[in-house]
Amino acid sequence: MTTLFAILFYTAFAVLLAGLGFKIAQFARTPAPLKIPTTPGPITTPGIAFRLGREAVLFESLFKSNKPLWIFAIIFHFGLFVVLARHLRYFQEPVWFWVGLVQPFGLYAGLAMVAGLGLLLLRRFVIDRVVYVTSPSDILMLLLLLGIGITGLGMTTLAHTDIIAVKAFFLGLMRFSIQPLPTDPALLVHLALVAVLMIVFPFSKLLHAPGLFFSPTRNQKDDPRERRHLSDWAAKLEAGRN
C-alpha cells in the first residue's frame, strides 16, 4: 500500500506540475491582439494589480453579481485556503511559525469548506438556470472535494490516524526515502481523492485559479490611446500588407 501511494503521489504531482505548467505557458504565450479590459478599469499597473487582487481575494465581480453565491463561494474558498495552510505542517520540519498559529482553526475551516461545498452542490439541483448549465463533471468535482473534506474532518474528529507516520511518509516522499504509510481506510480514501484532484486539475475547470490572472478583461490596462498595443501576428499582418 505504501509503495502504491508513493507511486500515486509522484505521478499526481508530476501530472499537476507538467499539466499546470503547460496550461500557464499556453495562456501566457497566446497573444492578446486587442485591448479589451472591461471598463471602467484601471489605467495604471498598480491599479491592475489591485483589481486582480480584489477579484482573487474578495471575488469582487461575483459580489456585484449574486450575493448568496458570493457567500457560498467565500465560505468554501476561505475554508479551503486555511485547510491548505494548516496542512503545510505535514510537508515541513521544522514547522513555520505562522503555520503553527493556523492549526487551531483547521477544524472550523474544514467545517466551513464542507458547508460551502454542500451549499454549492445544492444550488446545482435547485436553481433551474444552474441545473440547465450543469454537467456531470461539475457535480463530480464538488463530490470529489466533499469526499476529501469529509474524510479529512473524519480523521480530525472521529477516527484519528497516526499523523506522525503520515508526516514521515510525505517528508520521505520529498526526500526520495519511502516511509511506511498507515493503512486506516479514512486516510487512504482521503489521500487517493487528493491525488485524483491533483491529476484532474490541469484538465478541468479548476484552471480558473491561474486563469483569472490571464483574463484580458481583467488584467489589461485601459490605456489604448496612450500606448499602441500590437501583437506579433498583427505586426506581421501589418508588415505584409502595407
Binding site: F27, K35, E55, A73, V130, H208, G211, S215, P216
Partner: protein, 503 residues
C-alpha cells in the same frame, strides 16, 4: 408584427428573473449571407461538404490568436452568476440566451476536439460527462441562431468572477461561421457597402454632398447663421468620422447638426470625408481582425489625405469601441496628428471641454419642458472611456446633457453605468427579421425607462449611439411610446447652444 409578443413591463427594482423556457427562441435567426456578400470579403460562398473540418481548423487558429478565447474556454466554472444578466435571456427566458449556455455552444465543441478529457471521453461516446459534444449540423444551426442573439454588449463580463466576455466567444463563432460560408447577410452586406461606397448605408458621395448642402440651408433658415457642413476640405483642423445614419436618419441627423454648431461656435475648422463617411465598423461584429483593420485604414488614409490635425468621432457605440480601444492598434501610430489631443477624440469630449472652458455657451431654455434621462450605450460604458479618468464615459455625457436641459434624472442604478442594458439591437442584430428578438431584448431598458417616466415625468431619453437611436425609434412605438422620445445628446446641445454674438 402580429407575431411579436410584447413583454409586460415590471418594476426594475424587483429584478424579476424569468423561469427558463427551453427552445423559446430556437426559431429566431437572421438571413444567411449569399455568396455575393460572402466572397468579396474573402469568406466561403456556401457551406462545403467538409465544413466541420474547416470550422475546427478555424477554431484552432482563433484559439492560437486570441488569449481571451483560449482562457475563456478553459476557466468557466458554470457558477451561474451570469445566467440572469443578459437582456435577451431576461426578455425571452430561453436558457440558451444565458451567457454561459451561449458560450457552451462553442465550449462543448472546444472540449470535444481540443481538450484531452473531451477527446478521450468523446471517442467512446461519453463526452457529455465533461460537457463535450460532437460538432453536428444541428449544433452548427444552433450556433447560427444563438450567436446571432448576442449583441456583444459585455454585460455578462462585468458580473463574471473571471471576466469571461461572451462577446469574444460570439465574435469567434461568427468568424468561424463566415469561414465556412454561414455568414450573417445583414452584417456582410453592410461591410461590402463600406468597401465599395464608403459607408454602411451605401450613400454615394454626390448624395452625401446634397444632404449636407440641404442641412446648411435648414440651419441657416432656423438660426440665421452660416453653420457649415464641410466635406473633403484639405487642411481642416478636425476630421469628423460619424455613423452614416447621422446624415439623414432621425434623431441622428439632429445630433450631426449639433456637432456642426459646436464646431461653428467654437471656431474649430472641421471636415467630413467621403472616403471615411462612416464611423461604424461591422468588422468587430463578425469578429474579423482583417476586416476591422481594413475598415479602420480608411480613416487613416482620409486623415493623411486631408492633412487634418485631429480625429473626432460622432455619437456611435461600437464605433467608439473600435475607435477608442482598437484604432491605435489597427491603424496607428498617429504620430502625424497633433500630439496635444488624444487620438481619436469623442465629440462629447470636445463639447464637454468647450462647455467647461467657456468655449461655447448653452441656454437650457432651448430645451424647455424636457425632462431627460440617458441610456448608457454598452460599448461606450463597458468597452471604452471618455476623458482622463475611469468612468468619464458616464460623467461626460451626463455633464453635457445637464448643461443643455432643465431637468435630468438617472434610471435605476442596476440599469445604468457599467450595469447598463443593451438597447436590444446592438452587435449587428439591427435587422428586421430579428425584430421579435429586438423587442424582447429591450425589455429591461424599457422597464427602467417606464419607471422614470411614471415616477419622475421623464419626457425624453438621450442616446449616444446610432444603433441605439435606430433601435429605440423602432421599438418605442411597439411598447406604446412616442418614437421621438429618443434623442441624440448633441440634439440637446443643438437646441441650447448660443450661436453668433456670444462673446
Amino acid at each position: 408584427m402580429a407575431d411579436i409578443d410584447v413583454p409586460v413591463l415590471g418594476d426594475p427594482a424587483e429584478r424579476e428573473i424569468p423561469a427558463i423556457h427551453p427552445g423559446a427562441m430556437a426559431g429566431s435567426k437572421p438571413y444567411v449571407a449569399q455568396a455575393v456578400h460572402q466572397e468579396p470579403l474573402g469568406f466561403a460562398g456556401e457551406l462545403p461538404e467538409d465544413w466541420q473540418a474547416k470550422a475546427l481548423g478555424r477554431m484552432g487558429d482563433l484559439l492560437g490568436r486570441y488569449r481571451s478565447l483560449q482562457v475563456f474556454m478553459d476557466i468557466c466554472v458554470k457558477c451561474g452568476a451570469c445566467t440572469d444578466k443578459c437582456h435577451y435571456f431576461i426578455g425571452t427566458g430561453d436558457p440558451k440566451n444565458m451567457p454561459v449556455a451561449r458560450q457552451d455552444l462553442f465550449r462543448s465543441v472546444y472540449r470535444r476536439y481540443f481538450t484531452p478529457a473531451g477527446r478521450a471521453l468523446g471517442a467512446i461516446g461519453l463526452g457529455s460527462l465533461v460537457g463535450a459534444k460532437e460538432f453536428t449540423r444541428e449544433l452548427l444551426d444552433e450556433w447560427f441562431n444563438y450567436f446571432h442573439q448576442c449583441s456583444q454588449c459585455r454585460r455578462c463580463s462585468v458580473f463574471c468572477p473571471y471576466g469571461i466576455d461572451t462577446a469574444e466567444v460570439s465574435m469567434a463563432a461568427r468568424d468561424v461561421m463566415n469561414h465556412i460560408g454561414m455568414g450573417h447577410k445583414y452584417a456582410n452586406e453592410i461591410i461590402g457597402k463600406v468597401h465599395k461606397i464608403g459607408n454602411n448605408l451605401g450613400l454615394p458621395a454626390p448624395a452625401l454632398l446634397d444632404t449636407l448642402e440641404g442641412l446648411e440651408e435648414d440651419v441657416k433658415d432656423e438660426t440665421g447663421q452660416d453653420v457649415k457642413f464641410p466635406i473633403d476640405v484639405e487642411g481642416a483642423e478636425v476630421l469628423l468620422v460619424t455613423p452614416s445614419a447621422d446624415f439623414f436618419a432621425e434623431p441622428h441627423v439632429l445630433g450631426l447638426i449639433g456637432y456642426a454648431k459646436v464646431f461653428h461656435a467654437a471656431g474649430i475648422s472641421w471636415t467630413l470625408s467621403t472616403k471615411a463617411s462612416e464611423a461604424g465598423n461591422f468588422g468587430m461584429f463578425i469578429g474579423n481582425y482583417e476586416q476591422m483593420r481594413k475598415i479602420s485604414m480608411r480613416i487613416r488614409e482620409a486623415a493623411q489625405e486631408l492633412k487634418v490635425k485631429r480625429i473626432v468621432f460622432g455619437e456611435c457605440g461600437h464605433a467608439w469601441r473600435v475607435a477608442y480601444s482598437f484604432l491605435n492598434t489597427l491603424a496607428g501610430p498617429w504620430d502625424f496628428l497633433d500630439p496635444r489631443y488624444p487620438v481619436p477624440q469623442h465629440i462629447l469630449e470636445v463639447t464637454d471641454g468647450l462647455i467647461k472652458k467657456g468655449g461655447i455657451k448653452l441656454d437650457k431654455s432651448g430645451n424647455d419642458g424636457m425632462v431627460l434621462t440617458v441610456h448608457d450605450s454598452c460599448n461606450v460604458a463597458r468597452a471604452s472611456r471618455m476623458g482622463d479618468c475611469p468612468g468619464g464615459q458616464f460623467t461626460i455625457p451626463r455633464d453635457v446633457i445637464k448643461a443643455s436641459v432643465p431637468k435630468f434624472v438617472d434610471m435605476h442604478p442596476d440599469t445604468t453605468h457599467e450595469k447598463t442594458f443593451c438597447c436590444g439591437g446592438g452587435g449587428g442584430l439591427l435587422t428586421d427579421e430579428l425584430l421579435d428578438l429586438r423587442v424582447k431584448g429591450a425589455k429591461p431598458r424599457m422597464e427602467a425607462l417606464k419607471d422614470v417616466i411614471d415616477r419622475e415625468g421623464v419626457t425624453h431619453m438621450a442616446a449616444m449611439c446610432a444603433i441605439c437611436k435606430a433601435q429605440f425609434t423602432k421599438i418605442l412605438p411597439i411598447y406604446g411610446y412616442d418614437r421621438e422620445m429618443v434623442v441624440s445628446v448633441h440634439q440637446l446641445v443643438s437646441n441650447s447652444i448660443l450661436l453668433g454674438n456670444n462673446d
